[in-house]
């Protein structure tokens, strides 16, 4: 199994734990990730509101960089994934725009034909392509007794409906069940974490984060599993500020799903970026997993 790989900027710094754990689990599962040579930032969400053509061209450059021998590109970050997928579709649906983008790419000697590359989120690759059987066969340290709340957020499941159920996604739930964890079926798993709203209006953003943490707490969660650096940052790094604002005492570790997957596959904790999170996951994980 071979995929072109677009790590995205977050994975270089704040989501370094995602980066190492993605690469570690890919190795164990036999997924070959070929990192794009000289990839550039996807522009996140902001660029689109400034100038659509430039935003698209910046993203399309990454699609154009996928080697001709490969036809699938995977990204671990929800925003990068959506941007790449969206631009591929926009180019297919609006040939005018596609033409202009290709004019821009031509300046760098590049060209992209929409539809050539299938953009996949890493969760799909692991859940659907690697699949239940292969994963179960490689579990050496089941997550028995650990109550994991999968958190999907928005961009992997919406607006496109082909990755999972857009309103009530289940693929991460299934994955954690294969790993032996107790999956928390809580109602807000695909509600918004606020994204970059923390930079614009803290009260609004913190309220959104509070709702997620509150629901996870009510459902007796040991750890929240994320598939996006933004979501992880919001729920983890702002957790104490949320506590301050609402007079709450949340203390819920927030990890990347690949970190927990790696743990189950027997990858040593130190190779999975554990300890980089702000609300430390170590205590609850050791307590729960040592018990059995």
């Amino acid at each position: 199994m071979k995929y072109a790989f677009y790590p995205g900027c977050s994975l270089e710094v704040n989501a370094a734990a995602y980066d190492v754990s993605v690469r570690a689990v890919a190795r164990v599962l036999g997924v070959e990730l070929v990192e794009l040579d000289d990839w550039n930032c996807c522009g996140a969400t902001e660029y689109f509101s400034q100038d659509e053509l430039t935003a698209c061209a910046v993203i399309a450059r990454n699609l154009a960089l996928v080697e001709p021998s490969m036809n699938q590109l995977t990204a671990p970050c929800a925003a990068c994934f959506l941007n790449l997928k969206k631009v591929d579709r926009l180019m297919a649906e609006h040939p005018d725009l596609g033409g202009k983008i290709n004019e821009a790419l031509a300046a760098g000697g590049l060209h992209y034909d929409p539809g050539r590359v299938r953009v996949r989120h890493l969760l799909e690759v692991i859940h659907t392509d690697v699949g239940e059987e292969a994963i179960k066969a490689k579990v050496v340290r089941p997550l028995t007794g650990l109550r994991v709340a999968p958190y999907y957020g928005c961009q992997v499941v919406r607006p496109y409906k082909d990755v999972d159920d857009p309103e009530y996604p289940v693929k991460m739930d299934e994955l954690f069940r294969w790993l032996g964890a107790e999956v928390v079926d809580y109602p807000v798993k695909s509600h918004c974490c606020g994204g970059h709203m923390t930079q614009i209006s803290e009260p609004e953003a913190f309220e959104l984060i509070r709702r997620l943490l509150q629901s996870a707490l009510e459902y007796d969660t040991d750890v929240i599993a994320c598939l996006c650096p933004m979501c992880q940052l919001n729920m983890d790094a702002y957790q104490s500020r949320v506590n301050g604002m609402f007079n709450t005492s949340f203390h819920i570790p927030v990890l990347y799903f690949t970190q927990l997957l790696g743990l189950a596959l027997g990858v040593p904790e130190k190779d999975l970026g554990f300890g980089k999170e702000i609300v430390s996951a170590g205590p609850v994980i050791h307590a729960k997993l040592a018990a059995c």
């Binding site: 159920d165 309103e167 009530y168 079926d185 109602p187 629901s215 009510e218």
Partner: protein, 669 residues
């Protein structure tokens, strides 16, 4: 002698004339198509004046063939055939040419549309000249009718026919007749008790001297055609002998095996392994659910056998196959409920106090699992607030586009019952309130006065994630109130999802057996949506009730009666004419290879061993042409569709290619 062809181009008001230059086409035909003696255009060919025009031309101009370029033959072939007959011309010497559905309705530009109309007319003229006079065959109509489905629509059809003195065979899949109506408590808008108006009809049908009921049975196969169908019914083994059982229920009482009843009680109640769906079931004869019976599964028990005094329990009973001749078939197989789990954000199956509409019907029902008490899933707590969510799986591009037509009214009915029985607050979340039948709007107004709350907007989510004080421990309905123009969150104790009415899962399969088709959504297709709503494209097969589209009880009953009336008309007439479009085998050339025998989907070919030839049984042949293509000796001819006629039609359609190439079109083909 050359034929004299009359060509008649219809404007169909502006339906055709709006896109095709009908006058020019008519003129062109007269001037350019050989053997056209008369060619006219007219606003409405199907009107009496239009028909009279054709008849007069046949008489005065001595026409020997007629081509009508108008709408689909499905609509008016009969009309124009009759006109020809009236004027003494064999009706099979008339050919229709569809320049409405096939041209004007699908074209976007006038010139090419006009050219296409010319091609089709040229083809029709070429073909009609080679058509032969045929005589329709007369077949006697067997007065016995098969009704499939014993819901209210099927019961109505059955009783109408039986009361008129004709024999009816009623086949019902479940152990009892009654359909969905048997599960309801009250019926809108009058709130009369469902059982009180339904059960008398059930027992009347069962006891009627003219009705034979096969319950727990299914239609397996249909052959033959209108007037003389042959049907095969599989009567599933009940494991109880109907001739001996007295319906005392001793077996049920003593059966030690209790299972959740997912059928009649929609999972809210229990039944025994030997059961009747409900106490008023008709027939009042139990059935053993073999999958859950201890004897069938583990080879122990046989308690029911010991309890049964008349000795009716029969563990070895086998399915029975019944073969019958009937003249007509009425399908009244009803609807099934949308699976509300398909909208996971509404929480059905996950949040205990989210109920479906059918579950709620059982909760309200005095004979139901809670004896009519409206309580939460715990079986005891009365809700203090109830939300009713409309259009669950209806009017939703992700599931069904159609409006289920009855759920707005059922929601009002539920609102009334909740207010009457509990005094809880009731909220309806609707998109549009659809109360457009007699006394329905009045019922809506009544509920407004009774204090039911109405919030206009599609529900986004039902959640137990409390956000604000007052929401803890409740189900919260999140929705956009489109009248207030803002988001609202309403905490309630109980939610009722008004799930959509959908076509039965096996509707398509059953339709195929009877030779009728379904719409894209899966409802049976009627012959004409306005003018012929209970007939189908297959003569002798009728549809009634919710299998033709979601509808309420009054509409289902009206259709049941209408279908019965159509059948009675045919029985009274005594004979039907069937299309003489059949295959025939030239016995001289037949080698007796019998390849065609097995090919025929209608088993209409028999083999005469004495003379070593195959022969078509005309009464069974549908003229499909399979054998024509299969015969290695090429000695089977399909009348009205022979090679010469079809070749001529192709040649005709290519008239302009011939002009362009300057040589015979046949060569070009």
């Amino acid at each position: 002698m050359a034929e004299r062809v009359g060509v008649y181009v219809c404007h169909c008001g502006s339906n055709i004339a709006g896109m095709v230059d009908c006058e020019a086409v008519a003129r062109w035909a007269k001037e350019n198509v050989s053997d056209v003696a008369v060619s006219r255009d007219y606003k409405f060919m199907c009107s009496s004046l239009g028909q009279a025009m054709i008849e007069e031309d046949i008489r005065k101009e001595g026409l020997t063939r007629v081509v009508v370029a108008a709408c689909s033959p499905h609509l008016h072939e009969k009309t124009f055939r009759r006109a020809c007959s009236n004027a003494g011309l064999n009706p099979y010497l008339m050919q229709m040419c569809n320049i409405r559905e096939h041209v004007s309705w699908v074209a976007q530009e006038r010139d090419p549309a006009t050219e296409k109309a010319k091609s089709l007319i040229s083809a029709a003229v070429a073909r009609v000249k080679r058509q032969e006079p045929l005589e329709p065959m007369k077949v006697g109509v067997n007065p016995r009718t098969l009704v499939v489905g014993g819901g209210i629509a099927g019961l109505q059809a059955t009783l109408e026919l039986a009361d008129a003195g004709y024999p009816v065979v009623l086949v019902e899949r479940s152990p009892s007749i009654g359909g969905h109506m048997a599960q309801f408590d009250k019926t809108f808008p009058t709130l009369d008790c469902s059982a009180c108006i339904l059960t008398p009809k059930m027992s009347e049908a069962y006891q009627h001297e003219n009705v034979t009921l096969y319950s727990y049975a299914e239609l397996e196969e249909v052959s033959g055609s209108v007037g003389a169908f042959k049907v095969r019914i599989r009567k599933r083994a009940r494991s109880v002998r109907e001739d001996l059982c007295t319906g005392c229920g001793a077996c049920i009482e003593k059966c030690p095996r209790k299972v959740v009843d997912n059928d009649f009680e929609v999972g809210l109640g229990y039944r025994k392994a030997i059961y009747m769906p409900f106490p008023q079931a008709v027939p009042k004869i139990p059935v053993i659910d073999r999958e859950n019976c201890t004897w069938f599964q583990r080879g122990k028990c046989r308690v029911c056998e010991k309890m049964c005094q008349p000795g009716a329990i029969d563990y070895d009973q086998q399915d029975e196959i019944i073969e019958l001749d009937v003249g007509n078939i009425i399908l009244a197989t009803g609807w099934k409920l949308f699976d509300c789990r398909k909208i996971p954000q509404y929480g059905y199956g996950r949040l205990a106090n989210v109920f479906t509409n059918m579950e709620f019907e059982r909760l309200c029902n005095a004979a139901g699992p809670t004896s009519g008490k409206i309580v939460l899933r715990d079986g005891k707590t009365e809700p203090r607030s109830v939300a009713i969510v409309h259009c669950v799986g209806s009017r939703d591009k992700n599931h069904n586009e159609h409006c289920s037509a009855v759920c707005c009214m059922a929601a009002l009915k539920f609102g009334h019952l909740v207010l009457e029985k509990t005094g809880a607050e009731v909220y309806s979340f609707y998109i549009d309130m659809r109360t457009n039948q007699k006394m329905y709007e009045e019922f809506y107004c009544r509920l407004l006065e009774e204090g039911m709350h109405f919030i206009r907007g599609r529900v986004a989510e039902i959640t137990d994630a409390a956000r604000m004080p007052g929401e803890e421990g409740k189900l919260i309905i999140q929705c956009e109130d489109t009248l207030l123009g803002r988001q609202r969150r309403i905490p309630v104790d109980m939610v009722i999802l008004m799930g959509a009415l959908e076509p039965q899962a096996d509707a398509k399969e059953l339709g195929l057996k009877c030779g009728i088709s379904c719409s894209m959504a899966g409802w049976y297709t009627e012959r004409h949506p306005k003018l012929d709503p209970v007939a189908t494209m297959t003569d002798g097969v009728f549809v009634a009730g919710a299998c033709q589209g979601a509808k309420d009880i009054p509409a289902a009953v009206a259709q049941g009666a209408a279908a019965a009336a159509r059948v009675m008309g045919m029985i009274t007439k005594g004979t039907v004419e069937i299309e003489p479009v059949v295959a025939s085998i030239d016995e001289e050339g037949c080698s007796g290879c019998r390849i065609c025998n097995n090919m025929c989907p209608y088993n209409a070919i028999e083999y005469d061993a004495g003379r070593n030839v195959s022969r078509v049984i005309t009464a069974l042949c549908k003229g499909c042409g399979t054998c024509v293509a299969a015969c290695p000796a090429g000695v089977i001819t399909g009348s009205h569709f022979n090679n010469e006629q079809i070749g001529a039609e192709i040649e005709g359609i290519l008239w302009d290619a011939r002009a362009a190439a300057g040589r015979g079109a046949a060569a070009a083909v």
